[in-house]
Amino acid sequence: MAVIAGRPARGALLPPRLRAITGTRSGALAIFIIRRILWMIPILFFVILITFSLMHLAPGSPWDKNGGRQLSDTVVHNLNVRYGLDKPVPQQFLLYVWNVTHFDFGLSYQYQGKTVSDLLLESWPYTATIGVLAFLLIIPVGVGLGVLAALRQNTRVDYITMGFATIAASFPNFVIGALMVVVLSVLAYKATGGNFYLPAAGFAVDDSLIMPVVTLALLPIAYTARLTRASTLETIRQDYVRTAWAKGLPERLVVIRHVLKNSLIPVVTTLGPTFAFLVTGSVIVETVFAIPGIGRAFVTAIESRDYPMILGTTVLFSLVVAVANLIVDVLYVFIDPRVRLT
């Protein structure tokens, strides 16, 4: 058969059964997801490679003690042997990658006898709970305020909303967190004689979550509101929105079907990274509210050169980012028919 120049049709090189699957939209979607998941493997490999290199390039070692007693050479040597740090760095790297493929993230240096997996499983649930709650707050509040401001452009509603967004975006969250503690915990306690106040620290699924969640969510809410407003304002001026009005559609339909369906596409794009940002924790929020989350654990691990812990946390964060982006890309297929799966 003659060879015809050009790209083979999609799936032409696959066996017949697979070719049938790629023909349907849901089949194409499944293959898209599988391919993206497979792509995560090289991504994670490079994340480990870069983190590993940087970690070992930085001067110092896990056994340096700041201000404390310096360990004797023999002890340091024994520790190195125990944790495999005596081997050449490339070998250590390969060994780590090999272990990771077996879901073994190694032992922590700081906490005797604890595996990195244990530590991550202990601290991440706190962070993830706050992150997910903050995320659930962002969607209605951030998107809602943005849409409201756009639909009432240049009115008081718009000015107040955008004023709030600017303030929320400009205050650092340790200031907001501290202010909330002062007002809602300390002053509220004094003013009500202890009848009403929000706990300033601690973690339980109750009102102690309110302040950390709000503190964490404030900046992304402001950001999402601004983005939603800008995108909605741009969409309102599109020709097809004018067409919708010209058809005599009621305002509700024009807004929902013709404005929002289009204007929220860019917003969804940013929600992926926002979600990843939220569930990977904020050291500041966790410190202000004394939450034993992964953000703090990560910083502590870096300070004490807890190599396996640093790597483990980085791998977890990369996975979260990759999965969040994958979810956004899949969502895209459903909200924008122009998106093609490639």
Partner: protein, 367 residues
């Protein structure tokens, strides 16, 4: 013909910008009869589209209808409540927009977009509307209409999208269809098909049509009557044949001369109208066309703009120098240059600044 469907009375639509008030529509009066096809012609920026958007009360910010009446079957559109105007749009008067590529919602199925035009009004139930979508697409000659209703706009070509727009416009069987440059964004072969289609629909359904265009050929093939607009004003109005045979306003004459003709001797040069339409926030005094008019005389600059005057059977024009009063010599001069000596000299002096600016007093210098 039939009774008056739409009557515009001294309509003013103005834009309140930081540079001043832009008089986009400046005292327009005309009417459309039931079943009639009316052409509204003029260059870009002369207020045609704003006139159409005013009729549906869709003038974008910061524009507003400032005075005048728009009577549709005797009801004043400018005084309708929000619900009344919603019911009026798409039902009594529908509009087809210029660019089919951007006028359809990219994330909603074409079928849904046509269907909702019907379900927004009370004429069709949801069930009936759904069935009618395919029927409408067939009527506007969309091939494989049954399967195409489920497609999204990006799966349609430009011509197909415009057909879908027309189907949408016709879905409620409106008494008047306003088509704003319906073929401008399409290539020539598709243009012809769309024109044929609109002609046929007008004949079969008796829908009155208001065709907004700068394309004189389109007007000739589709319209019975024509309104010529310049700088937010009507400068000439009359039956198409008459206007084409003997245009009386120099602007109409110039517009017609800027269309290439196959049946005419090639010796005559194709003439474009020099300069640009005036800035509507600072229109020139006197007749607004005088800075570009090949037959301009002093009276055009100093006297207030002339009234619309009867110049033939059902034909009116607004000009001191009607074409029938222009002598042979002057006509030849204008044909060969497209400009009077006077205007040519002035344009040479200040290439673009003169356009729309008031004339610089006396013009004898330099000639």
């Amino acid at each position: 013909m039939g009774q008056t469907l739409l009557q515009l009375e001294d309509l003013h639509t103005q834009f309140f910008t930081s540079r001043g008030v832009v008089r986009a529509v400046d005292g327009i009066s005309f009417h459309v009869d039931a079943g009639e096809t009316l052409g509204v012609v003029g260059e870009s920026g002369c207020g045609k589209t704003m006139t159409a958007l005013s009729i549906l009360r869709l003038v974008p910010d910061p524009g507003r209808i400032t005075s005048g009446r728009i009577l549709f079957r005797g009801r004043d559109v400018t005084k309708m409540t929000d619900e009344e105007i919603r019911e009026f749009r798409g039902n009594d008067v529908a509009m087809i927009f210029q660019d089919p590529m951007t006028s359809l919602n990219p994330v909603t199925k074409v079928g849904t977009q046509i269907e909702e035009a019907m379900t927004a009004h009370e004429r069709f139930t949801e069930r009936l509307a759904r069935g009618r979508v395919v029927e409408l697409l067939k009527r506007v000659r969309v091939p494989a209409a049954e399967s195409r209703v489920k497609d999204y706009p990006h799966q349609f070509s430009g011509g197909m999208r415009q057909r879908a727009m027309i189907a949408m416009g016709l879905s409620n069987e409106p008494s008047l269809l306003i088509a704003d440059e319906p073929t401008t964004a399409l290539d020539v072969t598709v243009q012809a098909q769309i024109i044929q289609l609109m002609k046929q629909l007008n004949r079969e359904l008796g829908t009155a049509m208001m065709l907004i265009t700068h394309n004189m050929a389109l007007v000739a093939s589709l319209c019975e009557r024509v309104v010529v607009m310049y700088a937010g004003r009507i400068v000439e109005e009359g039956p198409v044949e008459q206007i084409f045979r003997s245009p009386q306003h120099p602007y109409t004459w110039s517009l017609l001369r800027s269309v290439p003709r196959v049946d005419e001797a090639r010796k005559e040069r194709l003439v474009s109208i020099k300069g640009l339409p005036p800035d509507l926030s600072h229109p020139p005094p006197g007749c607004k066309f005088h800075p570009r008019c090949p037959f301009v005389i002093d009276k055009c600059k100093t006297e207030p703009e002339p009234q619309l005057e009867e110049v033939g059977v059902n034909q009116v024009a607004r000009c001191w120098r009607l074409m029938r009063t222009i002598n042979e010599e002057e006509l030849d001069a204008a044909k060969s240059s497209g400009l009077s000596k006077d205007a040519a000299a002035r344009l040479k002096q200040e290439p673009s600044a003169t356009v729309g600016a008031p004339p610089s007093g006396n013009n004898n210098a330099g000639s």
